[in-house]
Homo-oligomer: 203 residues x 3
């Protein structure tokens, strides 16, 4: 199993566990848990694929991903009381996942000849909008949109690093590693030191 | 009018009435009522068509469907006080509708060479996500995701029956009838005997 | 800069300011503000493009639009205390924007050989659903769906004027002006005289 595939799997698994935890807080049952986990894991990439008219959607082309999420939800249903304890452990795979999805989204948008701003935006949407959709379905104002440790900003910054690296024709491997590292380090620092935007009102 | 067309019409009508009732509970006006009824009737199929990149969307290709929903909403606006009384009568057309949409979704996904799991998932999404979208727009946690008599599970089960029947190359008519019957009977039994998943928390 | 481009810009700017105001009321930060402004400005057109399978999406093909929204959000973050004061001034650009998006949506749907009803519906969706999506993400029941001065109805009426004009082969310029005027005048009158549908319940 290559490193990329491993990170991709980690990203899907971390997002799915996030979804299961969110669903259980909202008092959902197994169907809700699977749906929310699904949205969290595949929502961002699905938006990207729909926006860029790519076919097939990445989870339709890789059906072992939805099956993985399904299995996680079954395991989650039986171990839900222990899940919150592993939540802190999710920060790193979660950040890795966001970094991975960000780079994938940016690279695909650049491949479609989209402009720099659109490519960076697509990276950030791919990296973060799964969680947004999961929150909306759970009838909550998305965490991403409220004052909280920077998240989309880390993804957007990493996407710009990739875009600029692409412009200067760095090797793809280098760009992937560097911009992923930017996302992960920026995100971990933001959580550690509680970097955040102020709410709009108090500006 | 063939039996399939009749069921399809019943499905659209039942979903639209569900939407009108939901909109009136939320204090909406005619525009809200039409939008929610529209989502309830066409939301699942629209997601399926977008996900599988099918063109035109089924309600764009069959414009008499949206017109039917529009007419139902006009009638609904003038008879809203009597609508709740017919709600119990909707269980059977609703189940038939779910069965029909499930089979249609599964068959279309199998026709796109999608894997078994994806096909079954697409069937369940087509069968049930109209109601989910309608609930989200009405600012409610989707009923489908909360402990309640099994619904998506019935759809998913029927979809698997169709997928397996397709693998063993049964005739399409047989598979359609059998898997629809599974959905309808399973759903009616679930409502009658209140079969449900527990909420995740109490597992 | 042609008149059409000017109106289009006004429409995007008015929608973006609407989004910033909505986001600030919900206590969001800059990321939320940009996301909601983005949805308000591009949500309706994105739905139309996805439904009609048009590629690229209009904001991907015109990347200066998202950049404009981004700049508005930055300015908005520093001037948020003054924004509510300019809200009343937004009614006219907002109506112009709705008119513009309505005509654009209707014309595009007619160009895809869609039926009259679908074309008018697509016009109204393009004209009004940005605000609906923004409201849903902010966890509010969409204003458009609740008893309030007519809005979607003005858009739908203007769309029908365009559809009928197209049937009688009027010149496109004439149709654009006449149906835009219908939308704007109808909307301004509706706000001035508080024309609205009753809530469904009290019918």
């Amino acid at each position: 199993m290559s490193v990329v595939t491993l990170i991709e799997y980690l990203a899907v698994i971390a997002a799915a566990i996030y979804g299961v935890l969110l669903a259980s807080r909202t008092g959902m049952d197994f169907v809700g848990s699977f749906s929310v986990a699904f949205l969290a894991a595949f929502g961002g990439g699905t938006l990207r694929d729909l926006f860029l008219n790519r076919e097939p959607l990445f989870w339709i082309g890789n059906p072992h991903y939805p099956i993985t999420v399904f299995v996680i939800c079954i395991i989650g249903a039986f171990t839900i009381d222990h899940l919150p304890r592993i939540k802190p452990l999710l920060l790193v795979p979660d950040s890795l996942g966001m970094a991975f999805f960000t780079v994938a989204g940016t690279a695909i948008a650049l491949g479609s000849q989209d402009s720099w701003f659109i490519a960076a935006l697509m990276g950030a949407i791919t990296g973060t909008f799964g969680g947004v959709l999961a929150d909306v379905v759970c009838n909550e104002v998305p965490t991403l949109f409220k004052p909280a440790p920077l998240c989309a900003t880390c993804s957007f910054t990493g996407a710009w690093v990739y875009v600029i690296g692409d412009h200067f024709q760095f090797e793809q491997v280098t760009m992937t590693i560097v911009s992923s590292a930017v996302v992960v380090v920026f995100r971990l620092l933001a959580v550690r030191f509680d970097w955040r935007f102020p709410p709009l009102r108090s500006c």
